[in-house]
């Protein structure tokens, strides 16, 4: 419509609501069906969903890349992958995206690196959301001392410089997948808890909660069966927007040498290794960076799309 302020005239309405359309309009549709209908119309969100499916497929079929090129993920090709000066080879028929400082195939390593990024992105985010949701529900529902304690904990965690504490934790343990996920979960839950708590505070005053209580439902039943489904849409939106943040965190930890230890292929770590060589071997820096950026961008666009679809009241910021 050219003028959004003007009311639709009867002609326009008559055109839009034909007989078929009327039948369509009165058909009952659930929240999720409506959301899916809105989502499908969002071209940017659909494209980013496609990109994410692609990245997931690359991660699942990473071994296929290895067998097609004949280059194992940690295999070093000192003859073919390094030139006479011991420097990486540029992209060519043999190494589609070039080779790295040890003569390994960058394409194959990016494919394997997608596994770590996606795995940590999803698992650490779910852990973060789970801890945050449970503590947020408890703080909002029980109130009183429970609320005060959890609120103080939230304040504390939010005011800590996350990366420095990650450094401290890793410096007394061994770096690895588990510690990365634990660190992200331990420091990430506070923001989720704060959002859930705010929601629960208003929901718990509703009549249906009173009704549940008068029927003798236990506190835990009310929290998880009656309240949780009502904060679910917001949790889903938050989860999708948290995944790219988590992926960046994992890559950052690995870049700093606090994440996934070598020789496991990991994007952040590959970028760190390329840092001293980008003047001679741009492909070593550019391709892993592009993989990381495309993935986080796709997740952010998808998150925006899901938010618009589930919560059309919120304007796209």
């Amino acid at each position: 419509m050219t003028n959004p302020g003007a009311l639709p005239t009867s002609e326009v309405l008559g055109e839009a609501i034909g007989d078929e359309a009327v039948a369509h309009v009165i058909e009952g549709r659930s929240t999720w069906q409506l959301a899916w209908a809105r989502f499908r119309k969002d071209r940017i969100a659909m494209v980013s969903a496609g990109v994410i499916v692609l990245v997931v497929l690359v991660a699942i079929f990473a071994p296929v890349f290895a067998s097609l090129t004949g280059h194992g993920v940690n295999e070093q090709f000192r003859q073919t992958g390094l030139n006479a000066y011991g420097l990486p080879e540029p992209p060519s028929g043999r190494f589609l995206l070039g080779s790295d400082d040890l003569g390994r195939d960058i394409l194959v390593r990016i494919a394997y690196g997608a596994r770590i990024s996606l795995f940590v992105g999803v698992v650490a985010t779910l852990l973060t959301v789970a801890i945050g949701a449970v503590l947020g529900l408890m703080a909002g529902y029980f109130g009183g001392i429970v609320d005060s304690v959890i609120a103080r904990l939230v304040d504390l965690v939010l005011s800590l410089p996350f990366l420095l504490f990650a450094i401290s934790l890793v410096s007394v343990t061994q770096p690895g997948l588990t510690i990365v996920i634990v660190v992200i979960g331990v420091f990430g839950w506070a923001a989720v808890a704060r959002i859930v708590r705010g929601q629960v505070l208003s929901i718990r005053e509703k009549e249906y909660i009173e009704a549940a209580r008068s029927l003798g439902a236990s506190a835990w039943r009310i929290m998880f069966v009656d309240i949780l489904p009502n904060v679910l849409t917001q949790l889903i939106v938050y989860t999708t927007l948290l995944i790219p943040i988590t992926i960046v965190l994992e890559a950052t930890l690995s870049y700093l040498g606090l994440g996934i230890p070598p020789p496991t292929a990991d994007w952040g770590q590959m970028i760190a290794e390329s840092q001293n060589l980008y003047q001679q071997a741009w492909w070593f820096l550019v391709f892993p960076s592009a993989a990381l950026l495309i993935t986080t961008l796709a997740f952010n666009l998808l998150g925006d799309g899901i938010r618009d679809a589930l919560d059309p009241g919120l304007a796209r910021l």
Partner: protein, 322 residues
């Protein structure tokens, strides 16, 4: 206002006590004195060193006595111990590194607020225009960009490409002190500032745009326009002042993010600040340095949070009440 300040300071002290407990828990609590001593001195430490550490830090005492001693050393003597690697007091190392991180963080924070708020205002005022599209797209792009990727890209696309063409500004690595050479300082920090600023500016652009759009729909904005004020005055005086409250509160939260970003940026550009020193200390197993940096940086974040809360309370008087 004074009561609010006092309450915030008490809360800040509480947070600092919890920080010291956390740090103490991470580094000084273990199965027995020997494990802790080996953790502090490194796996390959000699028995003599280990015994010396146990004696010096009284590692055989009960935990709460040790914690009390740890606090006493920290608060009364400002003693953060010695670096095992460089054999230098940690406080000396901090004195050398803090100015670098401060230069980086403060400069970047200014750039990020200016770019973020201005681009947010522009895109809200010209809502739906091409300019708005460009700004929101760029904002999302930089928002998705990991700090270290942006830093390396700037190094590769700006510093290196200029260097190849014979223009030697923006050195890729290293830091020049402000007192040494103001111009060199500016040059060595321009790219790090941009790196640290652009990623966060994107968030602020999105935030300012959303919040200003909401405010511009309010009745009092219509009133201001109706009484014939110029558009610029309506937006900056009437609109932006209340639109900035969520931005100020977000900035309070982001001081910790600033510290984290500074660590990464220093590593990318080889700036000898707190972050690079902490990262190097890990590979050397130099725990006293890490402990000192964590405590000092946390204290800085706590103080900055209090300052930001005061600014916030000034912008939005409702905050003072609860």
């Amino acid at each position: 206002m004074v009561r609010f300040l006092i309450r915030r300071i008490i809360l800040g002290v509480l947070v600092m006590i919890m920080v010291t407990m956390l740090v103490f828990g991470i580094f000084f609590v273990g199965d027995n004195a020997e494990t802790v001593a080996y953790r502090l001195a490194g796996k390959n430490a000699q028995l003599k060193t280990v015994n010396l550490i146990i004696k010096r830090l009284h590692l055989h005492d009960p935990i709460y006595v040790q914690y009390w001693d740890f606090l006493k050393r920290l608060v009364w003597h400002h003693d953060l111990g010695y670096s095992y690697y460089g054999n230098e007091p940690v406080s000396t190392i901090l004195k050398q590194t803090v100015p670098v991180t401060l230069s980086l963080a403060i400069g970047a924070a200014i750039i990020w607020l200016v770019i973020g708020v201005l681009s947010g205002v522009l895109s809200a005022v010209r809502r739906g225009s091409i300019l708005d599209r460009v700004i929101t797209t760029l904002a999302l792009f930089f928002y998705s960009m990991p700090t270290f990727v942006l830093g390396l890209m700037l190094l590769f696309l700006v510093s290196y490409q200029l260097q190849v063409r014979g223009i030697r500004i923006f050195p890729g690595q290293g830091y020049v002190g402000l007192t040494q050479s103001p111009l060199g300082w500016l040059e060595s920090l321009t790219l790090p500032w941009l790196t640290l600023a652009l990623v966060s500016a994107a968030t602020y652009s999105r935030l300012t745009r959303g919040s200003l759009l909401e405010v511009l729909g309010e009745d009092y904005i219509r009133t201001a326009r109706a009484k014939g004020l110029r558009e610029r005055r309506v937006i900056f005086r009437h609109g932006l002042r209340s639109a900035l409250t969520p931005v100020a509160s977000q900035f309070g939260i982001d001081v910790g993010v600033l510290v984290g970003g500074a660590i990464v940026t220093e590593t990318v550009f080889g700036l000898p600040g707190l972050g690079l020193t902490a990262v190097r200390a890990i590979s050397n197993g130099d725990l006293p340095v890490i402990i000192g940096i964590v405590i000092v940086a946390s204290a800085a974040v706590v103080v900055a949070n209090i300052v930001m809360d005061m600014v916030y309370a000034f912008l939005d008087p409702r905050v003072r009440l609860h």
